[in-house]
Symmetry: C2
Amino acid sequence: MDETTKRHNEKMKRIKAARDELMKTKTEEKGLIMVHTGAGKGKSSSGFGMIMRCIAHGMPCAVVQFIKGTWMTGERKFLTHRFGDECRFFVSGEGFTWETQDRERDVAAAQRGWEIAKEQILDPDIDFVLLDEINIALRYDYLDIDEVVDFLLHQKPHMTHVCLTGRNAKPELIEAADLVTEMTLLKHPFRDGVKAQKGVEF
Amino acid sequence: MDETTKRHNEKMKRIKAARDELMKTKTEEKGLIMVHTGAGKGKSSSGFGMIMRCIAHGMPCAVVQFIKGTWMTGERKFLTHRFGDECRFFVSGEGFTWETQDRERDVAAAQRGWEIAKEQILDPDIDFVLLDEINIALRYDYLDIDEVVDFLLHQKPHMTHVCLTGRNAKPELIEAADLVTEMTLLKHPFRDGVKAQKGVEF
């Protein structure tokens, strides 16, 4: 074994020991409030990646889409056509807000979505709820942030996971969350004239 | 209609006009080189969210996992058990590098993974290839960054999408990529003693 390999193996051994020690302290299980925000890609798609994991583990789940309403995205087609039993799928939004140009309709749609969201979160049969693009509805005050945060902190069942996605997450939500990830855009092909493509963007 | 609603609707109309104008210039379709990096969550799971979209759209795809090797993750179980026809799944890694403590074995595993990756990318039947955690293999120089970048830029078929995940993406890869997202950790429940949980982390 050469010197580089030996040093590498020793370093990895130290990392493993430190990590094993650390992981001993990680014993709690609880339902998490998770937020995916930022201007980068991957906020919704990583939510759907977790839905895939839940289905694999036999954990019943639900999706409420707040904004992407009118078109058949890949994830919607996939889940409604193939996993209707494992994952409930609800759409409350009616396209992006700049498509509708009708605040009252958007508010009504968001409120309907939030009523469904609460039902799903309270349902003891459901382990994981994805509230896709709810941050957009919160940002435009289609939903009351205090009501949403209060519900998540005080009425969400202890073991239920809730993931809330969308850019511009409100500070109150970030404060209340257990796990917050910001997706930052370092580079985007739109800048070079490439359009949104299936599989990648929807 | 009240004044707030009217102003909102007008603002949305202006946004829509500007966006429609912008989207007219986005006409190109091409296979993208995508990188998900950073210390936050969602790098792999958003890759798997895109795999879900591809399956929904009937786009054949492949996954090569470079590091997460020895355990049955949700995504692996889901894809191998239910979507063996739609998505090819390969595992080259043998656990995290600090688990193996054997650089030579890790290098050999990464090299095997890269050979499979090249075959899948070159296969005209495959539209999307996810190289999960390849950035870890690149970081430790288990794979040669120049070889990988050169292959992606000059041998990848024009319409094939490739998504490379893992923290600490090399600058050469970021430079070569079309779309780069950095997942930044704003808050993580490990800090409060919560352990990795199924559905969420694996």
